[in-house]
Structures are given as C-alpha cells and as structure tokens.
Symmetry: C2
C-alpha cells in the first residue's frame, strides 16, 4: 500500500506492519472504530498492548481523533477527505452520528457545528456534536 506509507510518513509515524494494517482498516471503514473492534479484526495477530500504543500514537500524531460518546468505549476515526491532509492539526469540529441499531458511529463531515450562544464567561474552543438516531442502512 503506497498510500498508507505516505500517510504514515506525513504524520511522522514509523512504517511498521501493525500501523499499516490499522491504517488500512481505518481507510476501508466508513464508521468509527473502537479498540475492541480493531482487535477482533486483527485476529490476535498483534499484541493487545501494541494496539493500545498504536492508537495512542495515531491520536497524538493527529492521524485520528477520539469521538465523544456516552458509552464506556472510546472510538477513533480518521477524518474523511481533506481532514487528514496537509494541516497536521485536526479540526474535529464536525458532527458525529451514532446509530442506535447497528451501534456504528459515522463522521458527518458535511455537518459543521452551527452557531449558537454560549453563556457569558465561558470561552469555547472546540465543539463536538453527537447525534443519536438511525442510520441509512438500518432504516
């Protein structure tokens, strides 16, 4: 995978097998991935600890972002399109959609966070919008 290599380089991540594979998983999937899901997909090919560290490295480099949800599990996603492009700083300011039925979380890159009024005194820096509902496929 040429593309994977290039992406890893851009984020100053070393080109190792597990990183290439996990990156491929992210690229091939249109919803957010949890540690658990990835582990299952990788079928014990790698150590669980390494997976933790890989996800951490991906997050810290800015390759993926963590998605807020009200469950116990954390999910990660690549931003689509130009988000993981030149600007090494992620703008996570788009909405996320979580399907009640299939439990998958999608980035709604087209949905920016709309303007709204914040009470006096609070300085807002970043917004995350989580929408719960039913997705296309489950409808």
């Amino acid at each position: 995978m040429e593309k994977n290599l290039e992406i890893l380089q851009r984020y100053k991540l070393r080109n190792t097998e597990i990183r290439r594979e996990i990156l491929s998983l992210f690229l091939d999937t249109d919803y957010a991935l949890s540690h658990q899901y990835i582990e299952k997909k990788l079928e014990a090919k790698f150590d669980r600890v390494t997976l933790y560290r890989t996800l951490k490295a991906f997050e810290e480099s800015g390759l993926v972002h963590r998605i807020a949800n009200d469950k116990e599990t954390i999910e990660y996603a690549l931003c689509k399109d130009d988000c993981h492009a030149e600007n090494h700083k992620h703008s996570d300011n788009h909405a996320h959609f979580r399907c009640e039925i299939c439990q998958k979380t999608y980035c709604l890159d087209s949905v920016g966070i709309p303007d709204f009024h914040i009470p006096m005194g609070f300085k807002a820096k970043e917004f995350q919008l989580l929408v719960n509902g039913i997705c296309e496929k489950c409808a």
Copy 2:
C-alpha cells in the same frame, strides 16, 4: 432533607441513606459528577459496588443523565431547574461545557441545540453538544 425525599419519591427510588447523600451531592454541585468523584466525596462510607448500582438506578429512573465526553470516564448530572421536574423523561438536548483547566463539566441548560442539516437517510433522534474550552472560574 425534605427536598431529597420528595425527589426520590418522584422517581420511584427508595429512600435510603446512600441515595439521599448522593442526591445531595448532585444538588449541591453545579458540575457533572463522575463515579470516582462521588466515591472520594463519600469517603468509603459505602461500598463501591453499591455506588455503581445507585448511579445505574438514578440513570434508569431518569433522575440523572449520562454526559458524553471523549475521556474514559463517564459523568452524570442532574438537569437543572425544571428538567428533573414533572416530566419523568429527560430531555438531554442541551449543551455541555467542559473546562480544559479544571476538567469540570457544566450543563448549559440555556443553550439548546440549534438546527442543522442532517444528511439524507439519517434519522436523528437526540442531540448532544459538547463544548470544550475554559470556564468562568478558570478564565
């Protein structure tokens, strides 16, 4: 505490010591509480397991709601004002604000979720807006 008793009754929760105390904690605090925080406050007065079950009961009865965040820990909050009033169904459709410095999460009851466009095919049911930034006190 007269008020506590009344609230517990309204949510069909039995009037036990731990429930009264935890409810008081929620009433006395203007930010969201995590299991950990409550446990510390209660100073080993009750079993940790009971605390888990109490929070679960509070959540299921609709007394508190779970707040989405991108950390590992889950936080709970009473809705302010009329939210934990007559309607036993919570509307969590208000924004939450998390301070980067003090790490506290506040309900911004005054901030409703604004309208925005959801892509075709997705059926939205509930919205949660998380705002990260710096709060009044830490500014």
